[in-house]
Amino acid sequence: MTRQRIVITGLGGLCALGTDVESICQAMREGRSAIGEISTPFLRDAKTRIGAQIKQLPEWDIDRRRLVAIDRFAQLAAMSAEQALKQSGIEIAEMDDTRIGAVVGTGIFGAETADENYFALLVEKKPRASVFTVPRIMPSAPAGQVSMIHGLRGPVFGVTSACASSNHAFGAAADQIRLGRADVMLAGGTDAPLVYGVVKGWEALRALARETCRPFSADRDGLVLGEGAGMMVLESYEHAKARGATILAELAGSGMSADATDIVAPTIEGPAAAMQACLRDADLGIDDIDYVNAHGTGTKANDQIETAAIRRVFGTHADSLSVSSTKSMHAHCMGASGAIEAIACIMAVREGVVPPTANYREKDPECDLDVTPNKAKRRNVRAAISNAFAFGGTNAVVAFKAA
């Protein structure tokens, strides 16, 4: 039996680069970084003041009864889902709504709600928590909210694997279609981590950049936190064709692995195994890949080890690859990273534009791939992979190709 092809027919996203897919892509084509000063009261007196924040959310037509129960991270997911569904042309009212579901990744949880709850109880000495605390915080809330707001009654759940959550979500959602549990799945990830508690946690890890995120640049000094979400509409090739949908790209495959070594320190073997598994799953050879959207966090450890892992997998073809870390522009959006980076990959495949690694200044002999410094590059991209290597050693790589 031949394997069912899974295609993408809708895309949605919000991050500091823009609040829809086209404006995110435009910023990536221009190599514009959205990292800057954070202006949110939720940061309180944290030392870190830089990040990639969505300064202004678009108007959202939603019943206030729903809104009171939604943390920012679930709101971003639901808004992205709305954009993706709109582009796909799917009318849920006209289909069997038990055949459409959603898998939404998050690396954190409803962080704003968690912070505000503890401040209210411990600092302001409020006698009780808000009644909405639990439904707003839970990591499955984005998936649940997407289903309620958009009326999906098929398989709906959250996935979490720190910074690889979105890529695990894509893989898990495609599986639902291949296993016959759904015809259409929304998949992606979300996080809104720009709050005191989360930022202090990252400060403690000494992993945050002082000025900006400079992946693969010799003078890189860490990652920058960002917020955002991305969602895509996935369906079988046959289902998309039968309804005359515009196919944006194919989700060619996914590969997963675990380092099983250390909670924070990455290995070369784990990431390499995930990339290899992805290529096998997608039935793509190393020579078929033109672009690698790197995990590229901008930390010393990640970028060097990722370079070595890419070299191990691709051998001499590694020097023909275009590589970039778009985290230099939208920052590290935690569990949403893979979803926003998928937008970059799909743009590369569709338009032949490789988004750059912004903020790049100095060559690092340990990161000697073509990292597309500062300027987008025009080239035909037949297929692209997107890497996500998370704390906990949970790795997931997805492949996209022209449909």
Binding site: R65, R66, V68, R128, V131, F132
Partner: protein, 86 residues
């Protein structure tokens, strides 16, 4: 004429209700307030705190037992009276 307790409770309800619903009276049905189902519990918490009483109702009980704002006032008044006579 509404008394102080009624006015006070209406003010607390108003803080949660949909701003678009207009005037709230004892006859206003709770379902007309435009509140999330869990928000009724939040309103009950506010009342417990304000009057030093304990309303022993979970969210489901509250929706089943109370139909309009007047019912809420009556429930609170009974508990306050019980407290002062104890």
């Amino acid at each position: 004429m509404a008394d102080d307790l009624t006015n006070d409770i209406i003010a607390k309800v108003k803080a949660h209700a949909d701003p678009g619903i207009g005037e709230i009276t004892p006859e206003t049905e709770l379902t007309a307030l435009g509140i999330h189902s869990l928000e009724l519990t939040e309103i009950i918490f506010d009342l417990e705190e304000a009057y030093g009483i304990e309303i022993e109702m979970n969210t489901v009980d509250a929706w089943n037992n109370l139909k309009n704002v007047g019912d809420m006032v009556a429930a609170v008044r009974t508990l306050i009276d019980k407290k002062t006579s104890a």
